[in-house]
Symmetry: C2
Subunit: 329 residues, 2 copies
């Protein structure tokens, strides 16, 4: 099994990305890691300790966080992210990981790795945080702003297979993001998607309201990228504002500072739980290979965990299973 | 000035609705209040103290919280809410208030009071809470799930006039709910709305992300009812979950209970601030008269405040101003 890693993408690249790759290589000797980036930068970081299951694939260029995604992918053919995508397209790698520019990674998925036959819209599928720390795979969260009802059905199928293959869920519950739980609720798109999802080969449990997501009332949540992003940012905004206000309230007087000493250790896990950045790499589903978006602030542990996640998905034949289901084979 | 009040709608009807009407009648002797409902129920509640500026308009029926909105409005012609709507349509009242079934009130607005000429979609416009307690008038929040770009322009015009007439804002800032602040962000609808809003006779400040709403970075926020509802419920869900977790954390040990004694008085205003139910009645804009939705749990003070709100709007000639702007007169 071969996994390509974009060594140059993310806030902590290349240092902690290379470190994470070395840790992963040590833990899983059966897995070959293709570290993509500037050899003259990567090699010294390994301090002569290069594991035999790491190969450096040289790439001259880097796509930065402010690069315009599609333009960057089209023009910077030698960028580490694009080269990693080419390795997947040419079947020299089974999967690729990157903590770089999200938009550029989606463009790399579409333009370099390529769409899977039968899939109209690949989808970005991060885990939305839930209070029990397990999370809900939510798609699409940002790859496409507009979606048709039939796209949501494909999201549901891909998401269900992912939860089964990667997280071992036998019968993942699929919910449709909507404004009420009754069947006839929502806009025209949601109503049409509801009708299609009832017929789809997934365990559809009906509409799910944004306010119930934190209670994990489903395992896979499908939505168009616009509504999903609004939900995510509204939750982030509310949580961020409340935690800021709490901090202010705790710093007002000597008594409140004493209360803070008691309470803050108990509240930190809550704050962390609400942070979707804490919840692993997000797969980009519906491509001819596995592409995983790691958070921009990924450290060595996050990279190692993303390798674990990709390994599990590949061992479960995620891509082949999705292709078979989508194309009715 | 005559204001019809649905005496039978809401969790506290008719008792606290009648009480609120009596308080309002005492405060504003120049305003005639038409209290609509069952005379045999309302009269005893007044204990022989009926103010001269209150008239009881008898209505036999009541629309309940579980009634199917459109069906109820069509069939229960004698319902208090429908009769109040008829008073507005027949110009016997300038405005109506109800704390009853929201869907039925929107149906009453459309089917009984009637759409204003030139308005394609009336919009429900509650105040979204903000941390400074001032709020953002947000429309549409629920009257129509689907919206076209040109509907959002009408929402922006109506919302701006409302903020000026009712809240005295000279140049209300209009924001478009979107997934990023840059002009080209969003789905097809949002992009088209952005282009139209730039040309509209409002003070358009561009895209607003859901996570910035609590910081009141605009005065009027326009969105389709689906996205708006997702935003509202995501915020409610996040806030509710955090406050529940806080309560649990505060009740764990003797020390945390002591911390709670110090902190809870400081945190209660924060919780209240996050609750959109605290923010007054929501106008239904774009009708041939003023219709105000009071929250279902409205008490006497909420009813009196809604009368104040309606008075201010009527004194400012809200409806006439909207009609003139929409129809270019």
């Amino acid at each position: 099994m071969r996994i390509a890693i974009d060594a140059m993408g993310g806030d902590n690249a290349p240092g902690l990305i290379v470190q994470g790759a070395m840790d992963a290589a040590a833990q899983w000797p059966d897995t070959e890691l293709l570290l993509v980036g500037d050899t003259s930068v990567i090699e010294p970081l390994m301090k002569g300790q290069k594991p035999s299951n790491i190969t450096i694939c040289h790439a001259d260029e880097v796509i930065g966080p402010d690069d315009e995604p599609v333009k960057a992918v089209r023009r910077k053919k030698g960028a580490s992210m694009v080269v990693a995508g080419q390795l997947v397209r040419e079947k020299q790698a089974d999967a690729m990981l990157s903590a770089g520019n999200t938009g550029a990674l989606m463009a790399t998925g579409l333009l370099v790795v390529g769409r899977m036959d039968g899939i109209e819209r690949p989808a970005l599928a991060p885990m939305m945080p839930t209070m029990d720390d397990i999370g809900i795979l939510t798609l699409d969260l940002g790859a496409n702003m507009d979606a048709k009802p039939e796209h949501l059905v494909q999201y549901a199928i891909m998401g269900s297979i992912y939860r089964t293959k990667v997280h071992g869920l036998e019968k993942p519950r699929v919910g449709l993001l909507n404004v009420g739980t009754e069947a006839m609720k929502g806009n025209e798109m949601a109503k049409a998607a509801y009708a299609l999802l009832e017929q789809a080969p997934v365990h559809f449990i009906g509409n799910v309201e944004a306010r119930d997501v934190l209670n994990r009332n489903c395992d896979v949540l499908v939505c168009d990228g616009f509504a999903g992003n609004i939900m995510l940012k509204a939750m982030e905004g509310a949580a961020g504002t409340i935690f800021t206000s709490l901090k202010e309230a705790f710093s007002q007087t000597l008594l409140t500072k004493l209360a803070a000493a008691v309470m803050l250790p108990k509240l930190r896990p809550l704050k962390k739980r609400m942070d979707y950045k804490e919840h692993g790499g997000a797969p980009l589903l519906g491509l001819n290979g596995l592409v995983v978006k790691c958070h921009g602030s990924s450290d060595a542990l996050a990279v190692k965990n993303a390798v674990r996640q990709a390994r599990t998905a590949l061992q479960g034949q995620l891509i082949e299973t999705i292709a078979a289901e989508i194309n009715g084979k």
